[in-house]
């Protein structure tokens, strides 16, 4: 089992979510995060002049999948989150030791 953490643009969430769903990946956790990569921030204006904000709002999608599903899930996220511009985000894949479904107590593969 692996956990996929994908940092993506806010405006790409809907299409990413849709295609994951079409391929039967339902479960996910989405959170609002701030971060910094090569995009280096954006310029904002005050009453006069401007200032740079270097932590930009992004969304983080977390989903746990079977090892063999990792390439498909990553492919779906990349295809739908990509715009080609700097700031498209990043995907991390982490090993998962165990999973428990709280309602039934099911474990691991049965609980994904």
């Amino acid at each position: 089992m692996k956990k996929i953490e994908a940092i993506i643009r806010e405006e790409r969430l809907e299409t990413v979510k849709k295609e994951l769903e079409d391929n039967s990946y339902f479960g996910m956790t989405v959170s609002e995060v701030s971060g910094r990569g090569r995009q280096k921030g954006i310029l904002l204006q005050w009453r006069v002049g401007e200032y740079r904000v270097d932590l930009l709002p992004k969304l983080k999608i977390e989903l746990v999948v079977l090892d063999e599903d990792v390439p498909t899930a990553i492919d779906i996220i990349v295809r739908n989150a990509r715009t080609g511009e700097i700031g498209d985000g990043k995907i991390f894949v982490l090993p998962v030791e165990g999973v428990v479904r709280v309602r039934t107590g099911d474990r691991d593969e049965k609980a994904i």
Binding site: L44, Q45, R47, V48, V53
Partner: protein
Amino acid sequence: MSVSSGDTAWLLVSSALVMLMTPGLALFYGGMVRRKNVLSTIMMSFVALGLVGLLWVLYGYSLSFGSNQGGFIGGLDFVGLAGVGQEPSPLYASTVPHLAFMIFQAMFAIITVALITGAVVERIKFGALLIFSALWLTLVYCPVAHWVWGSGGWLAQLGTLDFAGGSVVHINAGVSSLALVMLLGRRRGFPQEPMEPSNIPMVVLGAGLLWFGWFGFNAGSALTSGGLAASAFVATNTAAATGAFTWMIISWVHRRPTILGTVTGAIAGLATITPAAGFVTPLAGIPIGIAAAITCYYVMLLLKTKLGFDDSLDVFAVHGIGGILGMLATGIFASAAVNTAGADGLLLGNGMQFLKQLLSVVAVGAYAFAVTWILGKLVDVTIGLRVGQMEETVGLDLSQHGERAYGGLLR
């Protein structure tokens, strides 16, 4: 004179309109500071309703409008509202109850004290601010209000024209802010770290309430409900509109048309038209609004961006400069045809009026700066003006008030 029901109705409504400006200012200022200081900033303005609203009826009104003492200050005859009743005053607003005139003036004193707080947010100790505000009301606001508006005040005798408080409110608050910032210093991290406004929609709501209340401020200052009030009302709206639009264009030329800039332009236009509103034609609001936006914009840019002077919410750049500009513009555009109690200005061949306005600007500015500096220093050496480093870092909402603006994890 007998009481006019129309004038009384208008003045009481105007008093309520001006009252609403202070919570409006609280939201206007509150939205411009960082999340951790939203409540403390709102509180600094709102508490003026409590503090000044009380001191004004106890003695503030008397020091401003009591019997003339050498042109400098009012006497103690109206302390505790003695002799201020349902009959009109023989000296002020002769068609409304004396109480109505008194409470209208109270609202001006309240918002003037609140205006100053924009310069010192995010770092001043709350207790120190309260003590300073009480001293400042007593020793700066009341005398200056007497000079300009009190019967026998020396600037009133001289023929200074200040319809609704360009000098008494705006120069007074703006210049005092300058002195207080010099004593207090910059916010920790300014100007290297960006200090992001926490809630610009709240700033816009506050600006809307200020604009709305300003009709009471300026048109109410006619003290009657006739043609002069209507003229001041239209001049006020015209200057606000022009100021807003001009600032929007400037920020667009610079990069993008910002909302924060547009509402700032409206406030600059409103502050600047204030002394002129009932002495100039409504359309004089156009050149005054344009001049307000351009001048305030570039002074702000110079002070903040070039000099790194942390007048945090630009009280001097908007109200100080707006007040000075408005007092001088009154000397240029005034017309006795608009208001028989006024005078002609420079454009109608009366250069003397311009010089009188200039003298008033210098006198009020110098007095406000000097006395504010002394009072601020006094508070600083006794209880200290500034919060500790840790208190400033965690934010004044928590450290000064034990509250936070936005709820916790469980919504």
